[in-house]
């Protein structure tokens, strides 16, 4: 325990920032890369997590628990979002028999 505590701040904050940037970019590229709606949802989760990580890192480095409370709330929202998202996905599979996001192309006009 103490070892871990002393280990904090050994890693520069900048590295956390860069890591979360990379994860976020990967998630975003994935959203564009894939057509499977469920993978797109997963990539969204990935982006959520990169932001969470960033928040948690700043919170720890600035000794402010508020950031971590925020992460907690983001998790709440993500859970709710996934629930609804997956329900829509099931609906979609049932109605058009596909999870291809390009099938949902009637959202125009």
């Amino acid at each position: 325990m103490d070892g871990i505590i002393t280990a904090i701040r050994v890693v520069p904050l900048l590295d956390y920032v860069v890591l979360s940037f990379i994860l976020f970019s990967i998630g975003m590229a994935g959203v564009m890369f894939r057509r499977n709606t469920i993978i797109i949802l997963m990539c969204l989760e990935l982006m959520f997590n990169s932001v969470n990580l960033l928040l948690a890192a700043f919170s720890a480095y600035h000794s402010d628990p508020g950031g971590q409370v925020f992460v907690f709330f983001i998790m709440l929202v993500a859970a709710a979002e996934v629930t609804v998202g997956l329900a829509i996905l099931v609906m979609m599979k049932r109605n058009v028999d596909s999870v291809d996001i390009n099938q949902l192309n009637r959202l125009k006009w």
Partner: protein, 643 residues
Amino acid sequence: MVTTNLLATLVPGLPLFGAVVIAAMRRQLKGNAAGMLGTTMVVASFVCSLLLFLDHDVVSVMHEAGLHQEHPPEGASHIVTLFDWISIGNMHIPFAFQIDALSLTMMLIVTGIGSLIHLYSIGYMHDDARVSTFFAQINLFTFAMLLLVMGANFVVTFIGWEGVGLCSYLLIGFWYTTPAYNYAARKAFVMNRIGDVGFVLGLAMIFHLTGTLTYTEVFEKAGSLSTPVLTGITLLLFIGAIGKSAQLPLFTWLPDAMAGPTPVSALIHAATMVTAGIFLIVRSSVLFSLAPITQDVVLYTGLITALLTASIGVFQNDIKKVLAYSTVSQLGLMFVALGLGAYSSAMFHVTTHAFFKALLFLGAGSVIHALGGEQDIRKMGGLKGVTKITYVTFLIGTLAIAGIPPLSGFFSKDAIMLAAYERSPLLFAATMLVSLLTCFYMFRLLFLTFFGTYRGKAHAHESPLTMTLPLMVLAVLSVIGGLLNLPHIVGGHEPMKEYLATAADGINGENSDMSANTEWMLMGLTTVLILSVIVLAYNRFAKKTTLDPEADDLPLFSRLIARKWMLDELYSALIEKPYGWFSNTFFSVGERKLMVPLMENTGRWTQKAGKAMRMLQSGNMSFYLFGMVVGIIVFLAITLYGG
């Protein structure tokens, strides 16, 4: 103080209340109810004005301060501020009334004559289907006119100024089913607008140079302005006055305005609204006194208008048109007085003119009413036996306007003519000519209408009491109106001049140094000439049994005058035709060749662009996401590297 404020609010408030109530309940008010309500409101307003007048005892203030001061003494005017109206930057315009001798005089005229005419209208408009609308509008007019005369700054006056213009428009076109009447209403409105532009520009100039529009403050700062600037301001204000008071070159609307109901002609186009221009100049007399060039312009504009319209009046055959030209001519005389700096004489003439011209118009209305709508004097005659009250009162009015001593018109007109004589005998001769012409056409009118034999067909009958009562009251006023400003020479002490001197700076300057002998001589000369003109008119018209020829059969010069000096045609050729030509050219070239293709192509290209942009809305969500990411990148790049 509290009562003063209350009364000052009630004076314009009551007619406004009447107008709103009548307008809102015009379907519920049956028969005479609207007329009764409207008349009550104006009478109540008159009572309030009277109380204010009695309460506001400036003459004693004046006597305490000593007569003939250079400036009105303290306490001569009382400002009633209702609320802060406009307050932007350094512009502060309260909604305030100025109660002083000048506004009180005008208030008494407006509400007093207004009450009588309202009463008269009950009888006159009895059969009209839209009688409630009529009373709502005429009450609204009274309100606007009171705003005009009571305003403590130019802006409140301007509101009233526009308000009376609007009501005038509405009431001229009251019988809107006749296209000619609508045209007359539009003409009046447009001509007034031309004047209003001058007025507004004048206000802008005043505000720009002095930073205020409140009368008292403007007049305090007037001395520091240079003469050219003052000339500019006063000329602009005078343009406004020209439009409203129907002077050359904007007078042609007033004769056409006779399309409205006769009480309207009496109230708006004879007694009150058309005197607004004179009121404005008297109110701004401080400015005008400092601008000699403008005074000359005012003088000669008035003189030419008076001569021109008096000559037209001689050849008119419509009973109301004769009176209308007479009104313009008399207004011209008032402007002559203003141009001579005789402000109190002008106001005196405004007052007496309000009495006898309202009387004449109402009398004419009574005649028209008696003959069932006939207005052509060639088809009248011999009415003195049938409509006795109308005849007697009309005779009194005619004698008054002709200037027979000791009726009111004699004193007021004489004051102006004396002032003219002081400037030059030639000017006196010109004003004399105007008054002789006035006398001639008025007696022509009188003789053709009431003497000789009846040449019309309709069955004549005397008007009801609501119509004759105002006639009698106004006749009495026309007789004794001279007492208001009895000159020194006949034992008076010019109370009205003394009273008005407490309000307007310019009035104190006018001190006659004419000898009594000259004055007596001029009065005598005037009277003798007028009497001889009456005899001339009597010989020519009183025994008439046949119809006058149409205008086309007259000799050339007379025909020119009868055609109103071709002024309408002149305006048409100079303004209407070129304007129409320009409009047509702009339409065929600018509109058709330039604007329309521009518009059409704008639409066409927008459609094309829309069609192209629609392709972006593919419905493909990955594409939207892609667009979003590109947008974010661009946005980030701009904020980071661009700034």
